[in-house]
């Protein structure tokens, strides 16, 4: 697609899918396919992607209540996914905002998970058994990262050197920090997963700013079709697309 094949033409698309050939489901699909904006020269289909980019996005905290906690979170995610010569780290990608927003919603309240008691610690093979929601685990974990920094280095987590932060994160990872209702190893796993989710999810969730994490990884994001490229021996460098640009 780097060779000018970025937009599969409407005709190719109809040909390859066979969409035009037979009885369709209701007719809903045609309406939907127009929304795909397959051919950007097609008049009458508005492309608002560029305008969206130009709009300033207000950013704020939906879950965390003070800047100190948010900065602890930010610095911890940056240690997990740091800025380097390949490109931005978690902070520039917006990962802390992603996590904050997720904690304020369904993810943070475990609303689609079985959260009824009685609760027991259980064996490792039985998985998540905490009575705490992810929101509660993060709140406690972030507070404890700060407390551990004060205990070890007599200063807040966000004032530490990188190696000192790593020392504390490693202690959490190795389950050395007592937590109520969960373990520090579990909190660390959650923090690590959430960091990667924020870095690599669609930018519409608030992370992966400008799709830069996808660019580093050479993942093209939301593309309609690879049918014309998948047999090519050559590696394809493709400018990524976000669902927000649909």
């Amino acid at each position: 697609m780097s060779e000018g094949k970025k937009n599969i033409t409407r005709r190719d698309f109809l040909k390859t899918t066979g969409v035009a050939t037979g009885a369709l489901i209701g007719g809903g699909i045609i309406g939907g396919l127009v929304g795909f904006n397959m051919d950007k020269t097609d008049q009458g289909v508005s492309n608002v992607g560029k305008e969206n980019h130009a709009m300033p996005t207000p950013r704020g905290m939906q879950f965390f209540q003070n800047t100190r906690d948010f900065e602890v979170l930010s610095n911890a995610t940056e240690r997990i996914f740091p800025k380097d010569d390949l490109g931005p780290g978690a902070i520039e990608l917006g990962v802390p905002y992603f996590i904050d927003h997720q904690l304020a919603g369904q993810y943070g309240s475990n609303s689609r998970e079985y959260m009824h008691g009685p609760f027991a610690v259980g064996a490792a093979t039985q998985g998540y058994q905490s009575r705490l929601t992810r929101g509660a685990i993060f709140r406690q974990g972030i507070t404890l990262l700060e407390a551990e920094a004060n205990k070890r280095f007599d200063t807040g987590f966000s004032s530490l050197e990188g190696e000192q932060m790593d020392e504390i994160l490693t202690a959490f990872q190795n389950d050395e920090i007592p937590m109520a209702g969960t373990t520090s190893a579990f909190f660390f796993r959650l923090l690590r997963s959430a960091t990667l989710e924020g870095a690599y999810s669609d930018p519409m969730y608030g992370g992966n700013n400008n799709m830069d994490a996808w660019r580093m990884k050479e993942f093209p994001g939301h593309q309609m079709a690879y049918i014309n490229l998948i047999e090519d021996e050559k590696f394809q460098k493709i400018e990524p697309m976000s669902l927000g640009e649909m």
Binding site: T17, G127, P220
Partner: protein, 570 residues
């Protein structure tokens, strides 16, 4: 108080693949069918913005809402069972299409050997090949009897494939559509396996190679290789699923009514028959009694077993005495494999759920087991399903899991890593079974299903054997370094493995060894049918859907016959 509704010919509980097949076939035969589905309606128009890994693959948008119902789990009878609070090891479906919406589309026929595994194992290796704790049994139906029904499903689904596997059961007809594209990644596997003396072939796929109209007149479009199949619905209607095939077929007859948000909590038994079901409208909270001439349980393995248990239909299996058949022979699968790290970049983000090549040289009894301490085997495949960036962070086993080295390595390896995986068969064991939980309940006050399950010595030996084969193929493919899958120990519900759960409502030749007969008709209630992978007395080395669907088509024929003539179908 429950409201009594007018009687109907057939109730189908659950509208995934099996429910959809039964509904379509019965409605075509003129029976009035009501489908009760606890989830929502949905269809292709809902999948147009599906390329969202976070929402669908990580947060499981299309899967079962566990806040309403889950199962409890333990590795053995001595452990307290605890609820599976989050989805992970397997992904239960919910809503129209069930897991047939978010499947990958690998569509196999189990081996002739699978259906007669007990007889054939005893004949070839003697009666003591496995210890008595392994509850092997024949299925009560043969491959030859099922062959037309396999084909019937393949026609409905338009399966893309090629008849080039020298080992599998004889096919009376070719696949309805040609195989998918053979990509450079697949060709690496093809070359390596051929060099090693194996016979690679294109994986039979429900992501269609070309547009296709099935015998019911439903159109399935051609796959665009967008890389979002498993855990996603198809925005093109190119991955065959119930909501684009059997469900519209049932609707067209005018004999089919769908009721959504309808959660069945009991099958009502009267003497040697059932009279209908009780369900709750999960939106209004109202209770209804829906009477019927025939009740078909077509929900997933877990819920089919649970509904029989809470309705007290059949005798619960007891591992101490070996008595009872309900809940018996719960099986899973094992996932041996190897990961290879290459120098060159590959288009790993392109793909389709069932785009792959397979060898069956180590599946079933296709190789001699005389000197091995296990039976059966597994298919070994490379699949190009489309690596997605959140979950694909390949690092060699000695790389840290976070920080600068992790970032560099996972990004470098992302386009340079391939995996080869086996689907190892799972043999029934007396200690692996389903029952009702005594402590935990669902949102409607009904006990949760309890799973007691661990890997067996047979599983561990087979896993090791197949992983070594995978590793050798990967080396032959030119990987710079190869990581072999670690040997398995205890079953752990954390980390996705496979949604190929089987058993618990097994089929067989007699009420002494099974819950249902070969038409999936309950031995204790002739107008009750229980359909799904729960019918498998053991699990084979393939994805189950093709075999589940063939059994469902045969069962549908039985239901139509039963509706005319009554009585036992065997």
């Amino acid at each position: 108080m429950a409201t009594n509704l007018p009687k109907v010919d057939v109730i189908v509980v659950g509208l995934g693949w099996t429910g959809g097949i039964i509904a379509a076939e019965c409605a075509k035969a003129g029976l009035k069918v009501i489908g009760l589905e606890r989830g929502r309606s949905r269809g292709t128009e809902d999948y147009l913005r599906i390329h969202d890994e976070y929402r669908y693959a990580l947060r499981y948008e299309l899967m079962q809402d566990l806040s309403k119902e889950t199962i409890t789990i333990r590795n053995n009878r001595k452990m307290p069972a605890l609820p599976m609070r989050q989805l992970s090891s397997f992904l239960l479906g919910e809503g129209l299409g069930g897991s047939g919406t978010h499947w990958n589309g690998h569509t196999w026929r189990f081996y002739p050997y699978d259906f007669q595994i007990k007889t054939m194992t005893d004949q070839k290796y003697g009666p003591n090949k496995l210890s008595k704790e392994y509850l092997l049994q024949d299925w009560g139906v043969t491959y030859d009897e099922l062959e037309p029904y396999f084909y019937k499903y393949e026609q409905t689904a338009g399966i893309s494939g090629e008849d080039k596997n020298p080992f599998w059961g004889k096919r009376a007809q070719q696949f309805p559509t040609p195989p998918m594209k053979k990509t450079p990644i697949l060709k690496k596997f093809e070359g390596a396996t051929q060099k090693l003396g194996y016979t690679p072939f294109m994986l039979p796929s429900a992501n269609l190679s070309e547009a296709y109209t099935n015998p019911d007149g439903e159109v399935i479009n051609a796959c665009q290789y967008c890389g979002f199949c498993e855990r996603f619905g198809c925005e093109y209607g190119a991955k065959t699923s119930p909501e684009i095939t059997v469900i519209p077929t049932a609707r067209k007859t005018g004999n089919f009514e769908e009721r959504f948000h309808a959660n069945v909590v009991e099958v009502i038994k009267n003497g040697n028959k059932v009279s209908g079901v009780k369900y709750i409208d999960t939106q209004s909270g109202e209770e209804f009694i829906q009477p019927a001439e025939v009740v078909v349980l077509a929900s997933y393995v877990m819920n089919n077993a649970k509904l029989l248990m809470v309705s007290k239909i059949g005798e619960q299996y007891d591992p101490d005495t070996g008595r009872g058949t309900l809940g018996k022979n719960y099986c899973y699968q094992i996932l041996p494999g190897a990961t290879g790290y290459f120098d060159e970049q590959m288009n790993v983000f392109m793909g389709a759920g069932a785009l792959g090549m397979t060898i069956d040289d180590f599946n079933g009894d296709n190789f001699d087991h005389s000197d091995l301490d296990f039976i059966h085997g597994g298919s070994i495949s490379i699949t190009q399903t489309g690596y997605r960036p959140i979950e694909t962070n390949p690092i060699q086993s000695d790389t840290p899991t976070w920080g600068p080295e992790f970032k560099k390595n996972s990004i470098y390896n992302y386009t340079r890593t391939l995996g080869i995986g086996g689907q190892g068969a799972s043999m029934p064991h007396k200690e692996n079974y389903l029952s009702l939980d005594g402590n935990y309940k669902d949102a409607y006050g009904v006990p949760l299903l309890q799973m007691t399950y661990n890997f067996t010595d047979q599983d561990r030996a087979l896993h090791k054997h197949l992983s070594e084969v995978c590793s050798n193929i990967m080396k032959e493919m030119g990987a710079k370094t190869v990581d072999i899958k670690k040997p398995i120990t205890d079953y752990d519900i954390v980390g996705y493995q496979t949604t190929h759960n089987t058993g618990g409502t097994i089929m067989g030749s007699s009420p002494d060894n099974s819950v249902v007969n070969s038409y999936l008709q309950h031995w204790d209630a002739e107008n009750l049918f229980v359909v799904g992978a729960g019918n498998f007395p053991h699990n084979g080395g393939y994805n189950p859907t093709g075999t589940v669907a063939a059994l469902a088509y045969r069962s549908a024929e039985g239901i139509v016959n039963y509706s005319k003539n009554g009585g036992s179908l065997v």
